[in-house]
């Protein structure tokens, strides 16, 4: 689940309304008078809003960055104008031809993303620009809520912000090369928060606190630290995303199909719908088999085996916690899964008239 980690409305200051104290230091900007108020006027050069790095800007994972802007340079649009950029993490900007671009610094260290058609941004008009990256492979950009570009080969996750933090209307580096000109009104930044996912799955009517207590006590007794356990959780998360990325590849169709099936599986799990869960998992399994070769599968299996060897508690104890939290109300039924997969395979072999 994504959590709002920065929200600025540029009326009087760059106060962070997201309750994370990611306030901006607004420099060389002017609070605008009507009809542009509320907004800060950026005059190019050193104009900027800077947010220092903070714990809530680490482990971004997936990102959604949104900026409401009115680009109004003294002449025609001939250079890049930064809307929001996380140092060594992601960027959203207007290009020299009036296009919108959203990029991330991908897994391989390349700035990759999506760029819209030219000329979408006209000087003197209000727009809301947006980049989304799902942490896996999809970079999507929007203007006023409408999709304007996509790239399915941008490998995540989105990185923690670098030491220069978040720059709004400016490049994170000192030179004023990409400084915005015009008015910025509002900015939002969301980041993925696995704790929210875990908490969101908790059932207040079925939560064995004693079991959690005992597990925590055992971890504490064996000297495990919170950071170590969290890191192991992040390792498992990262492995899961690598699995998903392997199936999706760079393919838009496979990405959308996998994403849709995963959402169905998630919904079935949370609604305790065993049949729906098995069906979605069977489809995901079939998609995997159609997309991966045996060598890829073997490599993934070996990586999973290594991961399981380094769990901080024995497997049996951890699976008991799954029951203690009532997360076993739906689960893997291997024979049912195979039966459903075989049934789906038979259906795929028939034409529409045979079904």
């Amino acid at each position: 689940m994504n959590r709002l980690v920065v929200h600025h409305l540029y009326a009087r200051s760059a106060f962070d309304l997201s309750n994370n104290r990611n306030h901006g230091a607004a420099m060389d900007v002017t609070p605008a008078a009507p009809p542009y108020a509320p907004s800060f006027q950026f005059n190019g050069g050193a104009s900027q809003v800077r947010v220092a790095s903070s714990p809530t800007l680490e482990n971004i994972g997936a990102v959604r960055a949104v900026v409401t802007f009115n680009l109004d340079p003294p002449g025609p649009i001939t250079r890049r104008y930064n809307l929001m950029e996380g140092h060594l993490s992601f960027a959203l900007f207007v290009g020299p031809n009036g296009s919108v671009t959203g990029t991330i610094l991908d897994r391989d260290g390349n700035w990759l993303g999506a760029t819209s058609a030219a000329g979408l941004v006209q000087p003197g008009r209000w727009y809301t620009g947006e980049i989304q990256h799902d942490g896996i492979n999809q970079a999507l950009i929007f203007l006023d809520g409408a999709p304007i570009g996509a790239n399915y080969s941008v490998r995540g996750p989105v990185r923690s912000l670098g030491p220069h933090g978040l720059a709004i209307g400016h490049w994170p580096e000192a030179p004023a090369t990409y400084t915005f000109a015009g008015h910025l009104r509002e900015a939002w930044l969301y980041a993925y928060d696995p704790f929210k996912d875990a908490n969101g799955l908790l059932d207040p009517c079925c939560r064995d606190r004693e079991a959690l207590d005992q597990a925590a006590a055992r971890l504490r007794a064996q000297g495990a630290t919170a950071d170590q356990v969290e890191q192991k959780a992040r390792d498992i998360l990262a492995f899961g995303y690598d699995l998903v990325a392997a199936v999706r590849g760079d393919d838009e169709g496979a990405t959308k199909q996998q994403e849709a099936l995963a959402q169905v599986a998630w919904a079935a799990f949370t609604q305790k719908d065993q049949a729906g869960y098995t069906l979605a998992l069977a489809q995901l399994a079939m998609l995997t088999q159609s997309r991966l070769g045996l060598a890829d599968m073997a490599a993934l299996r070996d990586r999973q085996a290594d991961l399981l060897k380094s769990l901080p508690l024995p497997w049996d104890e951890l699976t008991k916690l799954v029951s203690a939290l009532c997360w076993d109300k739906v689960g893997m039924q291997p024979q049912q899964l195979v039966d459903v997969a075989e049934h789906l395979t038979r259906l795929q072999g028939k034409g529409p008239d045979d079904v």
Binding site: D134, Q214, E259, V338
Partner: protein, 558 residues
């Protein structure tokens, strides 16, 4: 001159009505009584609760507390009661210096229900305070306000040397609102930590020196209340709501005036104002007018989330005190006195009677929810790998592989949860969202500002009593040459004082272990080592209010 008498008059003029829920059993007490308390239950007893009152200085990672951790106060039969001064060994005003990143200092008043050693090293201890004892300790006051609570006292009668009060006590601190962003700036300069307040708009050449000045024309009158304990709402199943011993809440009134160039030693400007008592006349009832300043805003503190401490923004709601043309932000007042409805058990201050369902602070964005769903996608993919490498018919190894595929990512989420419970203190921004409800109803007890009668709503007979609050006055402005009084009992009412304990940076209740099986949280602080108090965070919330999108439409400004 901004004299102590002026401050006292201001404090009286804007004191709020505190209207309690009929179920309430904890009311604002005199901090001196908390400090003066001495339990007669010996700590070496096999069934000890390790009651104080004592100051303990402990490692944050410590899982048990003992005599060795007591740095001042009573741990019967050792030690002696705390003294209301700064003198060793038992003065509460001693600095009690500690590194808050690794250690914690707290008052132990009622001790812990699970203090005795059960002999099992894995069994949790020190996870629950003793609200029942705290209740009985102040039952005389609570009976006075809520007669449904019978007069009672702890089984082992505690010892007090100071007179006990049967009226609620409220401490009003008068501070320059501009002081809070400056305290923050000083803290950041000294520690290099993250700022709490945003900087003012500055220039790239001098970005580090732009202290927010939006509130420099404001005086902040903060009314502090110390509750012996907080507990869940009495009406609903509130298992996730946290109990705490020692809860500070506060209401702040902001007056805009005209600061002069004359400054006190700590940089506060002098305000020229006068408090005038207008007698009753044909034109209306008697009231108080402030000449030279205008009451603009009021902030009501809103309790404590799980894990909340004074180093992170404490909740409060801010509204303009008087007429603003936005009916959604109306404040009920009698003359200058605002009405605060206090929620049962949790002591949140509300602007009206209400039942509130609270689901936490999270502001999820559903646009990217597929990433959470991707965990299930990963499970399906892992299942595909199992079947791809060992096609049907199913082998035992493949079955195991499939089961692991379905569970391993859930275990990842469980490890995230466990990591929270391995922290010495619960992280306020990631703790499980509290589910439950608060309730503040008519008809309960009331703490009344000086000279005010208990308000009645037609048709709602009060079940509680109204009692005049004892107002205590703390003037932070340094223009009056008369030094503040530090002694207690006070030589006379209505004096400006600076109690010895006002700067105590520890918690005002027991520290409890961060465990999933407890519904307790550690005691709260009046202030931390950097001056971050309820008044400080109420002012932070005022800045938030002034920057919120709603101000674009209603036009309310500082």
């Amino acid at each position: 001159m901004f004299s102590n008498d002026t401050m006292v008059a201001l404090g009286k003029a804007f004191a709020p009505f505190l209207l309690f829920d009929p179920s309430e059993r904890f009311f604002p007490v005199a901090a001196e009584e908390v400090l003066d308390h001495e339990s007669t239950e010996p700590w070496p007893d096999a069934t000890t609760h390790e009651r104080g009152t004592a100051v303990l200085n402990v490692a944050r990672a410590a899982t048990v507390f003992s005599d060795a951790d007591v740095v001042a106060g009573a741990h019967t039969p050792a030690g002696h009661r705390l003294t209301l001064d700064a003198n060793p060994p038992n003065g509460i005003g001693q600095p009690f210096g500690f590194d808050p990143s690794v250690r914690d200092v707290f008052l132990d008043v009622g001790g812990w229900e699970d203090a005795p050693d059960p002999g099992d090293p894995l069994a949790p201890r020190f996870t629950q305070g003793s609200a029942a004892y705290d209740d009985l300790l102040f039952r005389t006051l609570s009976h006075q306000l809520n007669p449904a609570l019978p007069i009672d006292s702890p089984a082992r009668t505690p010892s007090f040397t100071l007179p006990r009060s049967n009226q609620p006590t409220v401490y009003v601190e008068c501070e320059w609102a501009g002081m809070y962003p400056r305290q923050d700036h000083d803290r950041v300069t000294r520690t290099g930590d993250h700022p709490d307040f945003p900087p003012a708009i500055g220039t790239s050449q001098h970005s580090a020196d732009t202290v927010l000045t939006d509130l420099d024309t404001n005086i902040a009158l903060t009314y502090y209340m110390l509750y012996p304990a907080m507990e869940p709402s009495p009406l609903v199943n509130n298992d996730d709501s946290r109990r705490r011993e020692g809860q500070w809440e506060a209401i702040t009134v902001y007056l805009r005036g005209r600061p002069s160039d004359h400054r006190d030693e700590q940089g506060r400007p002098e305000f020229s104002l006068e408090v005038v008592e207008v007698p009753p006349s044909e034109a209306g009832p008697g009231h108080t007018e402030v000449v030279g300043a205008e009451a603009r805003f009021i902030a009501y503190s809103r309790g404590y989330d799980h894990g909340a401490d004074s180093d992170s923004p404490l909740k409060a709601e801010v509204r303009p005190l008087f007429n603003v043309g936005n009916s959604d932000l109306a404040v009920s007042t009698f003359s200058n006195h605002a009405l605060a409805y206090v929620t049962g058990g949790t002591h949140k201050n509300l602007f009206s009677t209400a039942a509130i369902i609270h689901t936490g602070d999270s502001q999820p964005n559903t646009t990217l929810n597929p990433l959470g769903g991707a965990l299930m996608g990963a499970a399906g993919t892992a299942a595909g790998v199992c079947l791809g490498l060992a096609p049907p018919p199913l082998t035992p190894a493949c079955i195991v592989c499939l089961i692991i595929a379905a569970v391993v990512f859930l275990i990842g989420l469980i490890l995230f949860l466990l990591s929270l419970f391995l922290r010495d203190d619960p992280p306020v921004d990631e703790a499980p969202d509290p589910a439950g409800a608060d309730v503040a109803r008519d008809g309960g007890a009331a703490a009344l500002p000086p000279g005010q009668a208990q308000p009645h709503r037609p048709g709602v007979p009060p079940s509680g009593n109204g009692a005049g609050m004892i107002l205590r006055f703390i003037n932070r402005f340094g223009f009056d040459p008369t030094p503040p009084v530090a002694a207690y009992p006070l030589p006379r009412p209505d004096v400006a004082e600076l109690p010895s304990w006002w700067g105590f940076v520890g918690r005002w209740g027991v520290r409890t272990q961060n465990r999933p099986a407890t519904s307790w949280d550690s005691g709260t602080r009046r202030t931390d080592a950097f001056g971050r108090s309820r008044g400080y965070w109420n002012t932070y919330r005022l800045i938030e209010f002034l920057n919120a999108p709603g101000r674009v439409t209603d036009g309310i400004t500082a």
